[in-house]
Subunit: 148 residues, 2 copies
Amino acid sequence: MSCEAVLVETLRSRGMRVTPQREMVLAALHELGGHSSVEEIHQQVITKSDAVDKSTVYRTLELLKELGLAIETDMGDGIQRYELAAHRAHGHLRCVCCGRVAPLELADLDALKDHLLAAFGFAMRDHQVIVGFCQNCRQAQGGRRPAV
Amino acid sequence: MSCEAVLVETLRSRGMRVTPQREMVLAALHELGGHSSVEEIHQQVITKSDAVDKSTVYRTLELLKELGLAIETDMGDGIQRYELAAHRAHGHLRCVCCGRVAPLELADLDALKDHLLAAFGFAMRDHQVIVGFCQNCRQAQGGRRPAV
DNA sequence: CTTGCTGCAAAGTCTTTGCATGTAC
DNA sequence: GTACATGCAAAGACTTTGCAGCAAG
């Protein structure tokens, strides 16, 4: 079942309304691929219908989060980013130097996840963000490392 | 050498001034222990001198960060938190349910760190924040897991 | 005394909220 | 037709900036 169909069913089953704005926000998450900011999502939506307000995007993202269709992730730069729950099964590598975010296979996090659960009973989220310096930035700046 | 002495030397060597405000912000970081918000640091400072402005705290924290004396960490809740660089050698476990943050030994992160460096050339920060559900919240809410 | 730092106030950014209008059902 | 959702505008939270006076060196 497609995301759109899930959205329609979920909304209907709760007595909520299926509006073009809600469908467009969901579509924007699809088209943008992953971890998009509210600003980016809004820009994407208004390419289709320029009257959609940013507050509606905020409200819709909050709704999609509650319905379990979207996931909110803070990459550590203070900007909330959203992606489809269907994209959930991966982590992120964020470079504090260039800001780029690369996807990370869950398998790469499994050992840590198992360890934290066994040692502390702590259930790590799947879409964990790992922060550090990417290969490019490490090479470009040599020994210099900003204190972040 | 104490943190205060490092601050004084570092400032002097750069031709910057040693002011009571700067010393008080550093002292507040000491007293608060770890990962404190700007609000908490400001409150701590004004217990000693109530005329210190929050903008000065912001500017001073930015300065301490540049000097390498303090570390800024976003725990994923949108609020920047600061701690002394001397406290740096640990990670954090943050529970998205109750918001509590527990320290995490670096040893627990070593395997992942080595793996990311070997596999992707990615240098993970020492004070990585791991997000998930703590033992208490997992037990309290059973199977229910908010989509975060 | 000179220059950098501070307090104050104002502005900026991102997000949330109140309310009348519009629209899905 | 009846609620719920939207657009607009205003307010809120957090942070940054401009500037005149103050104070460290």
